[in-house]
């Protein structure tokens, strides 16, 4: 199939903090970006307008031969893009759309920091070319909360100290959200005792550990991560524990 050369275009994007839970603060990335703009000029103070930087222009690469048009929905927002086909989904999110919640750890599918949901399924966004996701619904860590209301898994990670440095956390949380759906659906794991028995998965601690093994935490926050997932999966069980 031949792709028509895309029209030169510049897409203006409103980059609003997706879920401004801490409205008074600039994110580190926004701070770095803002500081960069101010470098060399008079220090005019930080432009705090309640929600940080509000409008950012995203330059699309010129219509180069071989660039591919792509349409997909990210956190409920439809995106029309033209991409170098080498762009991974991870680099599209972070470098082109400024959705930097998704982290680049190893960039080789070995750490899980880049985990996002594609049509509800958890995947490593670092090993997946963005152009293969035409028409799909992508959910990142920025898309989990409902306004100021954290996703239950996010709240449980806070409650149970499911992190220390926090770098792996967006991937851990996206992975955990999918894990809970998989368990409800009855998906099995390598430690499931009887694979021939079909039904809802019994999420023991051992099962959670196996099912989260694609997400590495160098700080070793695993006990908190497992506790957070147990809490969301079966709150009554943890209360009794």
């Amino acid at each position: 199939m031949d792709h028509k050369a895309p029209q030169p275009e510049t897409i203006y994007k409103e980059i609003q903090p997706q879920r401004p839970i801490y409205r008074w603060s600039l994110s580190r990335r926004q701070f770095v970006a803002t500081a960069g703009i101010l470098t060399g000029g008079a220090v005019m103070g930080f432009p705090i307008h309640g929600s940080g930087v509000t409008v950012t222009e995203v330059e699309q690469p010129a219509a180069e031969a071989g660039n591919i048009p792509l349409q997909l929905t990210i956190n409920g927002k439809q995106q029309q893009l033209t991409l170098d086909p080498r762009t991974t989904l991870l680099d599209l999110l972070r470098e082109k759309l400024q959705l930097t919640g998704t982290k680049k750890g190893c960039d080789h599918g070995q750490c899980g920091a880049c985990t996002v949901l594609a049509n509800g399924r958890r995947i490593n966004s670092c090993l997946s070319l963005a152009v293969t996701h035409e028409g799909e619904q992508i959910t990142t860590i920025e898309g989990l909360a409902q306004g100021d209301q954290l996703h239950p898994v996010q709240a449980a990670f806070l409650e149970h100290d499911g992190f220390q440095c926090g770098y792996c956390t967006p991937g851990q949380i996206c992975s955990a959200v999918a894990l809970l759906q998989e368990a409800r659906r009855g998906d099995a794991s390598y430690v499931t005792a009887d694979l021939r028995k079909i039904g809802t998965a019994d999420l023991t601690t051992n099962e959670i550990r196996e099912r989260m093994s694609g997400n590495i935490c160098r700080c070793g926050a695993y006990p908190g991560i497992v506790a957070a997932i147990e809490e969301v999966h079966s709150p009554q069980k943890r209360e009794g524990a």
Binding site: M1, P85, R121, T132, A188, Y190, R196, I198, G214
Partner: protein, 329 residues
């Protein structure tokens, strides 16, 4: 990553045409291995033919017995399909022992068969010697670090092992790979699909570059009630096998009617131990029987300095897998 031309194919024929018309073109499915290798510069295709939309995702019963697994069904969907779990739990278990949930959600059945070795001398072009990556340069592993490498079927040129768990279960179950190329369709028995390295370790399989995998076909299930996939690795999970064993028993009146034993992590291809299987026929499932089979399976193993431990490890893993398969623990 090198520049490449990206083409999206919606149908089998269009996919094959796009491969035939392109120089150094490759199919792109889940991409979990290919994209990784392209990032490292180990593979530099000039064209990628995205086949993710080709309708090869079905898993369906074959009339007269057996199960057809679409080449583009994802590993996670295959492992969790009710017919696979009920009739081929060995395959579910093997798939679920590999990679991570995220990777299995991307990886396809066809792609799993075609994944390349994770030998570090192959994976990193900073190592000058690798006959698989650059034929004629030598084998860095043979004279370097090789504790994870082959003990069976290796050659002077290459001691890499095949990384797939799924393929080990498929070898035990006697699967066939249905492929299509410009000359039409053909079936490749799984035993003939992967190659031993010999003097051409750059060639992993007998699949031709212009052939597309359509499905993996499983024969009627004889082993659903008594099978086990046991994987031994450095970490508890999310790691490649040091040794793995797919063990399956067909029981009749308390004795073994037939059996299957295949090993992973020990050779350039899934290693079926047919002589060991023959030893089990008609025997009682007990430790002495299993130990005799394990000894036979490792007959002819040729370890190097750092991987001799795999012989003893493989024997124990075979005995343990057969014990768990037979339910005689």
């Amino acid at each position: 990553m090198n520049s490449f031309e990206y083409k999206r194919a919606e149908q089998e024929q269009a996919a094959i045409d796009a491969i035939v018309s392109g120089k150094d073109a490759k199919f792109l499915a889940g991409g979990t291995n290919l994209i990784d290798l392209m990032k490292n510069g180990v593979q530099t295709p000039s064209r990628l033919v995205d086949i993710n939309r080709v309708p090869l995702t079905n898993i369906e019963a074959i009339p007269g017995g057996g199960l057809r697994l679409g080449a583009l069904a994802r590993n996670s969907d295959t492992a969790n399909h009710p017919l696979v779990r009920k009739n081929y739990p060995l395959l579910s278990q093997a798939i679920l022992s590999g990679a991570s949930p995220q990777l299995r959600n991307l990886a396809t059945n066809g792609g799993n068969l075609l994944q390349r070795t994770r030998c570090p001398y192959f994976m990193d072009p900073a190592f000058p010697k690798c006959n698989k990556r650059s034929p004629g340069t030598g084998c860095g592993a043979r004279e370097g670090i090789h504790r994870r490498h082959a003990i069976l079927g290796a050659s002077e040129q290459c001691i890499a092992v095949h990384p797939s768990d799924m393929a080990v279960a498929l070898a035990a179950l006697g699967a066939s790979v249905r492929v299509r190329g410009p000359k039409g369709e053909r079936m490749i028995p799984i035993a003939d699909f992967h190659r031993l390295p010999g003097t051409t370790p750059q060639v992993d399989t007998n699949l031709q570059p212009d052939e597309l995998i359509l499905s993996i076909d499983l024969p009627q299930s004889l082993y659903a009630a008594h099978s086990h996939y046991l994987k031994i690795r450095d970490r508890a999970s999310y790691d490649f096998a040091l040794v793995s064993v797919a063990a399956a028993l067909e029981m009749q009146s308390g004795s073994i009617k037939s059996s299957r034993i295949a090993l992973g992590g020990v050779a350039h291809k899934p290693w079926r131990a047919e002589k060991a299987e023959a030893l089990l026929a008609g025997k009682q499932p007990n430790a002495a029987t299993f130990e005799a089979a394990a000894t036979e399976a490792l007959n002819g193993a040729q370890p190097l300095k750092q991987n001799a431990y795999k012989i003893e490890l493989a024997k124990h893993t075979i005995v343990r897998a057969l014990t768990l398969a037979g339910g005689v623990a």
